[in-house]
Amino acid sequence: MKCKRCRAKAEIKLRQHNAAFCRTCFVFFVQRQVERTIRQERMIANSEPVLVAVSGGKDSLALWEILHALGFTTTGLHLALGIGEYSAESTRKTKAFAAQHELPLITADLGEVAEPVPTLARFTNRPPCAACGLAKRHFMDRIANERGFPVLATGHNLDDEAARLLGNVMRWQGDYLAKQSPVLEPNHERFARKVRPLYRLSEYEMAAYAFFRGIDYILDECPNSVGASQLVYKDALNRIESEMPGAKMSFVREFFRSAQPAFAAAERPPDHECDQCGMPCFGSTCAFCRLRREVDAKRPSPPSPPTPH
């Protein structure tokens, strides 16, 4: 199999593009895809500093590397989630990447600024992934606001978008469909623009990019993701894709083009500021601060010191 661009021996075949590439041309292809996506979707202006959410996984570290290679001014934001050795290893990989590329990194330890994910889940009877997602969204918004970043970039790839879309459609969750977009313009002055520059690139393409670029990412899966519904949707979509190459891309692209605007039109902006943290929300307290309040209410109090006789 030959590279489509230079006719050298191909290392990767992309059925959805009916193309194969050598290592060098594939790296060029991915970087150019991201550059085009950013330009066509008006995600980031050249002068805007970008806060890049980095987990230590392949997608977010590759995104950070690509944005830096494209000349954007980037700062990484890593949340240490407190999920045992998995989180410790994720933090080590992220810090090592930042040091190797001499890029600035903000690290927030959820156990210090709030509660670790297992505690948030245990005392509120929520699935860990729900508590984790809420905490991540809250601190990404909050830190972007506190540090004055106009843009927050995340490493969601095509498979993430397709799986999320399938999940939202299966339950017809109109409010979630309204917010699923590669560019989410802020609907409050304290929010940053949220962008997903990798949404046209598959999970396989991002893994290959990280491999070719020698990015040392965490291979292990989060222990909480076992049996997660997103993985069920991804598996179903992979089976469809294997029979119909390009199906994932058209599913996502046509949703963004024709259906998402209709859901977004029905959205209203947050009308309050949280009485605990000051971030925009609906009602008096934001969802994350309500979660923390629930933890405080349900966590057993420490034993009182013995009364002197």
Partner: protein
Amino acid sequence: MKIRILPERNELDLPGRQRVADALRQLDMLPGTVMVIRNDELLTDDAWVEENDTIEIRRVMSGG
């Protein structure tokens, strides 16, 4: 051929010389969901793997 599967760190053997696509079919894996790596080289699904080769199969799916 010797196969190491990540992230599970499972190891197994498949007999004979085979194309990557055939090996993946025997393992019930879909192309595009795993990277097949030999000596720091990514293999396309038409590549041959020799009986004495050692390959790494790295799953690419993540999320939760």
